[in-house]
Symmetry: C2
Amino acid sequence: MGTHHQGSETEIAALDAYLKLMRAAESVTARAHVALPPGLTLTQFAALEALLHCGPLFQSELATKLLKSGGNLTLVVANLERDGLVTRERTAADRRFVKVALTPKGRRYIGTLFPKIAASLTREFSVLTPREQTALARLCKRVGLGRPAYATS
Amino acid sequence: MGTHHQGSETEIAALDAYLKLMRAAESVTARAHVALPPGLTLTQFAALEALLHCGPLFQSELATKLLKSGGNLTLVVANLERDGLVTRERTAADRRFVKVALTPKGRRYIGTLFPKIAASLTREFSVLTPREQTALARLCKRVGLGRPAYATS
DNA sequence: TCCCGATAATTTGACATCAAAACATCCCCT
DNA sequence: AGGGGATGTTTTGATGTCAAATTATCGGGA
């Protein structure tokens, strides 16, 4: 939303906040992206990171954690499997579920990569003081959670 | 980034802020997306909105404003043209440039749609007080701009 | 005038993304 | 035992997205 819209004070404030929120997210994402080795996408990284810190997960759990659709995860995990970074296995108990786990190669890969990305993001956010980072996180959390459905006021 | 990572205090704070920033952006985007008429994507909306509030633009200007690649805009604008919402015309002075403009249909369309989306976003951000919205915008702006390249400290 | 570098757009190939339809399985209920 | 609904995954079709290669055009300098 540019600066050319005429509306009420509250509307302008909300649109301004929205615009800057999106720009910040896109900018940080773009800068984090260039820190990734060529060939590894952001979603692939996020999936590997989840597996590293949570252990093997069902594909549906992965989709929920990454806020992505199930169909999407099918492709992302398939590409990771193709690259030898994860394994997929139908569970014996319920053959509908697919358990995704890191291979040794995948574990080494994300294990060395994650600290670098974490350091990179830490550097990005160092433009804010620790107190400001906390404030930003708190505000973003409330926006992310949204207004409860029953609070219609 | 889950809660399972062990790192320094500053690293954890930065990753937490990053996670919540991204979640907020994704959540608001998702909720704004459902408010769009089926068939119109977020990028298409953003392009039409820019044209409504800025007037006809070169395709390259549009790409810069939307923070998207040139190749991407070629496709997005082509789809809008196919739907009869914009026109594309090579400028006579310099035939490399393509001027994109709203058609009357496109103007009516975005003209009635934008206020609805603006109201929807205003509602989203009403979980924050005006003062909090300003604070969020200010913090996001600094994160979005990033650390100047010469400030290597 | 002609060549060459710069710039705008398009094309290409790979991946992401969703919604919806199709499959595969499971499990409850009769 | 069997039908039917629920659930996880996969497929399909359309769009978005980028980087890199290509094309078209322009402008300045030899």
